[in-house]
Point group: C2
DNA sequence: GTTCTTGCAAAGGCTTTGCAGTTCT
DNA sequence: AGAACTGCAAAGCCTTTGCAAGAAC
């Protein structure tokens, strides 16, 4: 099974993010995790923040970012960064790997996976001498709803 | 043939970028295009700027960004945004579509393409009712050089 | 009491934009 | 002349960080 790995972002690795951190019970983190678990997924940090504020008024955006980093480190949340450069978050861990179909009209995300593609990716990597550790596939187009409207 | 399309970035579409613009002969734009054509490709805007300064001392970063946008609009340059969120540029137009293998150790880019994967992507999109307009595939791992070093 | 977490405000990195001056046609 | 291009500095967006206060263990 292939795990999606994002390119290293700006965060330098000298400041540990979630080795033993993120372990304390905290209402905000629980709220954030709850937002992602019960929500539609693929939320931006800002969207997570807004949703979390309904459950935890006063929660700050910095807390959201920090919690998301921790939760990503623990594997409880998955971060993925599409080509608009804005990170999206979804509940992780138990969820199997998947790629994304992204609607260029409404911006919605659909999860999809094709085992054959996964296999061929591994083959392609091997062909170029790469020791594959992850991948990211995004397919852009019109979702069924938006295609119908046109 | 599938063309890679990036998600819309922040630039709102009300300000036209390259309909009839970018047409004037300009030493800076020629320098920028030259950098990309003769260089190794996959350069960030900052790298393009640095290289362009050698040919055109005093050229500003804003000029580089504006020129790149124009050149992308004209198809002379391709922009692609990997998961670190920093745009990379490569000469476009005549070049056939390709995906990228990205080394997680040294950050180098390798171009690759597998027609079968392209086909399966189209199939996957169709299966979900998507009218596909583009895609982006990045495979992460250790490049042959870096793998050998470990 | 020690360590982790939080809010706020400030800063960071990449990119875009306003403006006045310059260059091209 | 008129439109496009340019450099500079300022601003924008998303994200991270320093700090002092608060909460968890």
């Amino acid at each position: 099974m292939i795990i999606v790995i994002n390119m290293p972002r700006k965060t330098p690795p000298h400041k540990k993010v979630c080795d033993c951190q993120g372990s304390r019970r905290s209402r905000r983190r629980e709220a954030i995790l709850d937002v992602l678990s019960s929500g539609e997924g693929h939320l931006s940090a800002e969207q997570v923040h807004k949703a979390a504020q309904k459950r935890m008024p006063g929660i700050g955006i910095a807390t959201v970012y920090r919690a998301l980093k921790c939760l990503c480190g623990c594997g409880k949340v998955l971060e993925f960064i599409p080509s608009d450069g804005v990170a999206r978050y979804e509940p992780g861990g138990d969820k199997p790997h998947h790629d994304h179909l992204i609607c260029t009209a409404c911006g919605c995300f659909t999860e999809a996976v094709d085992p054959e593609i996964e296999r061929l990716q591994a083959r392609l990597a091997a062909k170029h001498g790469y020791a594959i550790s992850g991948h990211r596939l995004e397919i852009y187009g019109l979702c069924p709803c938006c295609a119908k409207k046109k």
